[in-house]
């Protein structure tokens, strides 16, 4: 509860700041619109030549693309700015301040900074998903719930992955390259993970679960994810969250010299 209030406060502070720079805000939104419409265009070009792509028709593909921008938007809304700041804190030694606060350091560091404008990316992603859904029209309450659960799991998976990656900053300080690998792999989430050849599919669904984080919510909303799959996703996400948090704690202990 207290953490939710803090989160709202972080968000509000950032919002105030971004609202001061209206031109920037407008330009960022224009960029988001351009990027998403061109991506939709790319999907339309593909479907100019086919009606179905590995069992995904145009509606399902748009839902998937919408989910992709929801997940990526979430990443850029809070995770990317926060984790970038975190690496900067490690480099400058200002991480100390977060460790001295009577609150979870992991929370204070990893959910601290927002790029509020990225809500636009999530919103537009939602629009694309809804348009796609309109073509499938199988949305019952069951699918809606499954979708919401799967999407949250997707967020958690992405968070866990970034947390685990950024933990390396405690030992290596400069890990920008490592993070950049992640962001370029995320790009692969724009298509269903099963179109990729073996090695890439395995990478995308296990080591870098961006494929899972995007594909499964899209399957859930179009009624193609069964209860068992959903259960596996939920358990997997929780496990990923716990494991990455433990790993973060190990990194923190090494930072404070507990295990040196």
């Amino acid at each position: 509860m207290r953490y939710l209030r803090l989160l709202a406060l972080f968000f509000r502070t950032e919002l105030q700041y971004e609202l001061e720079y209206r031109t920037n805000l407008a330009l960022e939104i224009v960029q988001i619109v351009v990027i998403i419409t061109t991506s939709v265009g790319a999907v339309l070009i593909l479907f100019n030549y086919t009606t179905v792509l590995n069992g995904w028709d145009l509606g399902a593909m748009l839902v998937l693309l919408g989910c992709f921008y929801l997940v990526q938007g979430f990443g850029e809304l809070v995770l990317q700015p926060s984790f970038e700041k975190f690496m900067e804190h490690v480099r400058l030694g200002t991480l100390d301040f977060a460790l001295l606060k009577p609150a979870s350091a992991q929370f204070l560091v990893t959910l601290r900074n927002f790029q509020v404008v990225q809500l636009g990316q999530m919103g537009l992603g939602a629009v694309v998903a809804i348009v796609g859904l309109g073509r499938i029209s199988t949305l019952g309450p069951g699918e809606a719930v499954a979708f919401a659960v799967a999407l949250v799991c997707g967020f958690v998976l992405i968070y866990a992955l970034l947390l685990a990656l950024s933990t390396f900053a405690f030992w290596f300080v400069r890990i920008d390259n490592l993070m950049a690998i992640y962001w370029s792999f995320l790009d692969a989430g724009r298509f269903p993970v099963d179109i990729y050849p073996g090695w890439l599919r395995v990478t995308l669904s296990t080591a870098v679960p961006v494929g899972v984080a995007v594909t499964l919510p899209a399957q859930a909303i179009s009624g193609r994810l069964d209860l068992f799959g959903l259960a596996v996703l939920v358990v997997g996400s929780i496990a990923a969250f716990i494991l990455s948090s433990l790993f973060w704690r190990v990194g923190l202990r090494s930072y404070t010299g507990a295990s040196a």
Partner: protein, 335 residues
């Protein structure tokens, strides 16, 4: 006196550093077999600080001051030894402890660059769970003491270094801590801003009774604020006691300044009375053995008679004492 606020016993902190040469080949080699070396940053120090004290923590760069402060504030686990602050073991980082202490670092900022400090204060209030009532009171007091009125509403990046440090102080004290660790709080500030910060620290200590342990490179800070100092060097405790006695203990000599009448300076050789360390027109400074100082002064007065215009006997300046301690000239070599 009750329990001490800070109680440190035989505290040690050893860092294991990896030594690595430049170049790819060396990097690869060190990947296989690392060259490691232990550095004793803090090599067993013991001290206690009572409630309300302002203690200066002195030592040259690398003496272990910052490491000690980091251990006491809970940022570092010590290698051995015990420490209690407010009855807590700092490195357990219990919320109840963190709630009551602060660590201010002169060369690092916790304020967010692009937003006004007032917004950062609000965030800190929420993090520390300070009730609105006392938050308003604290901010009001700090604003008055530090003269922050115009500063807290500007984005931090638009503040000067000194202004930023004042705001930084306020940010670090939002939770009204009972213990404050100040690491080089005046570093890089101009003289007048230094003295402003000094006055603030003294006043804050007087008003709130907070216990303060501070490190500084500027002896003026220490002289103005601390009656007691703790001196460490190479991780060892060299001195712990009143600032006033530091010179007596650490510098076995005194400074005699003799001012000679016009013309006399050229003809009289003062080297017989002590080591001449300075000569400026008629003013000559002499370094003399501490015990022998009164006798030398008396001889000077007697023997120079008319030629002596003025004479004073003083402890050496505190910077010099400290400098001497750190350059490890051992006691008893001066005449």
């Amino acid at each position: 006196m009750g329990e001490p606020i800070i109680d440190v016993r035989d505290l040690r902190k050893t860092f294991r550093v990896t030594e690595r040469q430049e170049g790819l080949a060396a990097t690869l080699r060190s990947f296989v077999r690392r060259q490691r070396r232990d550095v004793n940053a803090v090599a067993g120090i013991t001290f206690r600080i009572e409630a309300g004290e302002v203690v200066g923590f002195l030592g040259p760069n690398g003496a272990g001051k910052t490491t000690t402060l980091k251990v006491l504030s809970g940022l570092l686990y010590p290698t051995a030894g015990e420490a209690h602050v407010l009855g807590f073991v700092p490195w357990r980082r219990e919320n109840a402890y963190l709630q009551q202490m602060t660590l201010l670092m002169g060369n690092r900022t916790q304020l967010v660059w692009d937003i006004p400090a007032a917004d950062s204060f609000r965030v800190l209030q929420e993090i520390y769970g300070v009730p609105d009532e006392s938050f308003r009171r604290t901010v009001g007091e700090l604003t008055e003491l530090l003269e922050l009125q115009d500063l807290v509403h500007k984005p931090v990046r638009n503040l000067s270094l000194g202004e930023r440090m004042k705001v930084e102080f306020a940010a670090g004290l939002i939770q009204s801590p009972r213990v404050a660790f100040l690491d080089e709080p005046t570093i890089g500030l101009d003289v007048s801003m230094q003295s402003r910060i000094r006055r603030f620290v003294a006043e804050y200590n007087r008003r709130t009774g907070a216990t303060i342990l501070l490190t500084s490179h500027y002896m003026d800070d220490v002289v103005a604020l601390c009656r007691r100092v703790i001196v460490i060097h190479h991780g060892h405790l060299l001195y712990d006691g009143p600032l006033a006695d530091l010179a007596e203990r650490m510098a076995p000599y005194k400074i005699i300044t003799a001012t000679l009448r016009d013309g006399a300076a050229a003809t009289i050789d003062l080297a017989a009375y002590g080591t001449v360390t300075g000569r400026d027109e008629g003013r000559v400074t002499l370094k003399v053995d501490r015990q022998g100082a009164p006798e030398r002064a008396a001889r000077l007065v007697n023997e120079l008679g008319e030629n002596l215009a003025d004479i004073s006997v003083e402890d050496p300046p505190i910077e010099e004492v400290i400098d001497r301690v750190f350059s490890e000239e051992r006691v008893g070599t001066a005449t």
